[in-house]
Symmetry: C2
């Protein structure tokens, strides 16, 4: 089928109109910052003008601000196979990694190692290094090659920390299998779903996952720096004393008691006052996903990435791109990456043409496919632009080699 | 002078028009959630529609999102006597308490105690209790009566954690004196400025403070759940390994290296991706304060609280209110509190009349005075309402005794 035919048959096509996208841009970076749902503008204006401006302090109760972390958490839970009362929207992914790692560590105090893979998303690894320093290296990090994680699950390992879909390659791990192996080795597991939620089907419950975290501003379209989310399986919630034991995680925050008593459920993982504006934008993005069928999202995601990989083949042969993402669709997330030594400059040349992907050091060009608003026609056009960038040597300009603060 | 005369002579009076306040409300709760600057609506709409919607990922560089935590931090620094490069806007106050406590603890590893006062703001104390649990009680909390803090600064004390202006009583500590005593005892000090920034003059530098945290959504008018701020004196920054070692605190976040290397300056205390919407609203509030003269703010604050206390005296005598805030102006923050056994119901009756203060368990009625938008006429009118609530027994209704989730 042609890209046009694929788009004509796309059941998700009507969602495109729910997003505000700039004219003349093919946006393939929704895996880094999701596009803006049109409804976000009105909803945020309502929060700012009516709820904050007029309702003022009464909006904590009257406008449901106080319930937002749990309410939005329960909604995200539906997208990743978690139950009611197992998830909250709060803090950043990094902070939630710390919270879940500390919680997981406390389940097996006789063990001393957090096992992860080299090249995992940096903040995941960095947060472990902070725990090493904080505990005087009583807790240690063990980093192994991606293919060696399962083999390294010895009886020293307290927690396995893995990203479900890798941020550079888009490689997706078998969550159920790896979770089972971790449990058989006596470890618990923390899954980072930053590149999974809203991108690929996830079933935390059937996988038996212990803890998970994820990002609100990528595929969930929650806005820049949106609150993240945190999952704690019900069976663990009562057992763990939150390391970040803030007043919003207290059983009765407004009793103003001197003694911390954690809330009975997942709310104990809240810390400070929820960021209301960010919560409002996140909820709009999540609500949109609740209208979509995740099986259709997955099917279209693969259709988009399949088309992209197919059309990129001649460019790989002619210009030295190397596919960095899995050929096998069962292992592919909702992005496709290529390695190229001139990756940074090539990406800048593409962006100058209105094809927005991104670059990840040292040599990865990333293209994210967001089925709610990306079309097959756009994917084909993106490859046409890439061909023109390469054939004319258009990327080889000094201004495309100046690195920006954020790449 | 009459309230009308005081208002006529008020140099800050023009600021009132910069805030959106609902008709018919006397808002004396800006110490809990600051009112909305009118400019916030337009600025946030710009972030949502133009920067997120059109700029998308490029706005991290092009719209200055990446610099916001440091840029806003440097602005707040001007309000509390900190230097450039000593403050960032980030996370919640609670999370920042954890970060600064861990940093302070690492300066004196041979000591084991965090000293604070009973009845400190709960989250301050709770975060210490989490550190106790996390360190297997290697680090311990010592809570003493407010007047006994200085006397308890023994050589076991690693860190003194104090709130500058108490959230219930509004009592203000002598920051310079207490900091000096802590240093003489070999401890470092973490100041919570949640009820100070934008409320009273603060000079962290001349006091020699080590670390500080504070809240963006109270007197700074940064919006509900606004990002908090964190201060680390320059002399300490290089010495401490952040406990929450996230990618945004890395020296080169976009190098995506496996090894955490903290940023050279205060940026190392950043953790995850900054909440852009919340940052934008906070900056509007802070910018407004940069236009004001803090000496005038203080002078008007005392003028407002003096009027309130004076007019409340007959009600204290007739209805059993007890002033919970210092009579001495040098010790008074920008709020006045009264104890009353029926405090909760009385506050609900006041709110029903459009006089919005708040209640803090078990028996405190709080009234915040925000000199940028509160007038003397409003303060006098608030007391008149209070008189009517008490004289008619208006507070004594069942519906005023049902506790809401947030008080």
């Amino acid at each position: 089928m042609t890209p046009e035919q694929l788009d004509a048959a796309d059941p998700l096509a009507p969602f495109r109109d729910r997003f505000a996208l700039p004219e003349g841009v093919i946006y393939l970076d929704g895996n880094s910052l999701g596009a803006r749902p049109k409804a976000a503008a009105g909803r945020i204006a309502q929060v700012v003008e009516r709820e904050w401006g007029e309702g003022l302090i009464t909006s904590w109760n009257a406008a449901g601000w106080i319930e937002a972390p749990r309410r939005i958490g329960d909604k995200i839970a539906q997208l990743v196979g978690a139950g009611n009362g197992e998830m909250i929207a709060c803090d950043s992914t990094s902070v939630n990694i710390f919270k879940t790692l500390c919680a997981a560590l406390s389940l097996t105090p006789e063990r001393d190692t957090i096992l992860s893979e080299r090249g995992n998303f940096p903040t995941d690894i960095y947060m472990v290094q902070g725990i090493e320093a904080l505990t005087g290296r009583r807790i240690r990090q063990q980093l192994v090659e991606p293919g060696e994680v399962e083999g390294a699950m010895g009886d020293h390992v307290a927690v396995v920390l893995l990203t479900h879909v890798h941020y550079k390659t888009g490689r997706m791990r078998d969550m159920a299998l790896t979770t089972r192996l971790a449990h058989e080795a006596g470890a618990s597991i923390v899954w980072d779903l930053s590149h999974s939620a809203g991108a690929v089907p996830v079933d935390l419950t059937s996988a038996g996952a212990d803890f998970a975290v994820g990002c609100g501003y990528k595929y969930l379209n929650g806005g820049p720096g949106a609150p993240a989310f945190l999952f704690a399986a019900k069976r663990h919630q009562q057992k763990v004393m939150p390391a970040l034991s803030g007043w919003f995680g207290h059983a009765e925050p407004f009793a103003f008691d001197d003694q911390y008593r954690p809330a009975p459920g997942v709310e104990r993982f809240m810390v400070g006052t929820p960021p209301v504006l960010g919560m409002a934008a996140l909820e709009v993005g999540v609500d949109l996903f609740l209208e979509a069928d995740m099986a259709q999202v997955r099917s279209k995601s693969l259709s988009l990435s399949r088309l992209f990989i197919e059309r990129m083949k001649p460019l790989c042969a002619a210009h030295g791109f190397q596919l960095a993402s899995p050929e096998l669709e069962a292992e592919r997330g909702s992005q496709v990456s290529y390695r190229h030594p001139q990756g940074y400059a090539i990406m800048q040349a593409l962006i100058a043409r209105g094809v927005v992907g991104d670059f990840r050091a040292p040599d990865i060009l990333r293209f994210g496919f967001t089925p709610l608003y990306t079309s097959h026609v756009e994917v084909a056009a993106a490859v046409d632009h890439m061909a023109q960038v390469m054939e004319g040597g258009e990327w080889d300009r000094p201004e495309y080699k100046v690195r920006a603060a954020v790449t």
